[in-house]
Symmetry: C3
Subunit: 115 residues, 3 copies
């Protein structure tokens, strides 16, 4: 079975699709100086586009790992997250504090979704 890759560059692909499963990772792209609310909005808007490109949508996410850099931002992150998800469609979720490659990043999310 063939693997479909969206926008492969030497370092990563924006998404991979195989046997009905989509793997993709989002970090804020348009304004990394935004606060957590703004960064989450960017990440989730990008996720919608990634899901759409892969033939899915935000009701079909199976698992997320949410990486944040400061737990003081947790409430803001959760507010945007819960407002974005459709009813009864939440994925399994882990949420951790780590450091991210760009010191301006406040959040990075790894997604596994069904097509």
């Amino acid at each position: 079975m063939e693997i479909k890759r969206i926008n492969p560059v030497p370092r990563w692909s924006d998404a991979t699709i195989y046997n009905g499963i989509i793997h993709f990772v989002e970090v804020p792209e348009s304004d990394t100086k935004a606060d957590m609310t703004g960064q989450m909005q960017q990440v989730l808007e990008q996720a919608e586009l990634s899901l759409q490109s892969a033939g899915s949508d935000k009701s079909r996410i199976l698992s997320v790992t949410i990486y944040v850099t400061n737990f003081a931002d947790l409430d803001a992150m959760n507010r945007v997250w819960e407002a974005w998800l459709p009813n009864d469609c939440a994925p399994s979720r882990a949420c951790l504090k780590v450091e991210l490659v760009d010191p301006d990043y406040k959040v990075e999310i790894a997604f596994v979704a069904a097509q």
Copy 2:
């Protein structure tokens, strides 16, 4: 193909099931003041219930990511982990030190299992 979700709330589902694969995440629920041995026992008892609800059992785990907050707890964590797993049924495993959302949590585990 339909996605089955166990106990979906606005923030997460206890587990998602799709095409024979189960994603779920456990943190200690009954006593977050317990030491690592106690917290691991809680996490693994909960995992058994989650696996059962999803039509699986602890012999069918494919992958775990074990997040701990203090490597001084590593031996205690490993003792409970190895005692719990059936013979010849260990999953692929990553183990990392991060910070977790509740400062009392000593461990959080993300599971991928087969039904």
Copy 3:
């Protein structure tokens, strides 16, 4: 459907294979005193062997989570990574700074691949 496990020991398996999907995790095994370039080379050589044992190869990786312990090593890590991947075969990728169980480890990678 049966789960195939490569080298199961009480703590982990080197890889699990189920329904065409391979989960495995690599840390440097032969020389943990090596610098990031040397540790990444070990990790990626081991990954090639794991993929081969599981009936796959490095063109079929779906997702990686790269854990590093020092972002000063990021450029060295990326150089080895990009040189290793075949053209147009990059997986989805998250890269985080955490602490790893052996203080000498500079990198650990969790892989999801297709057979």
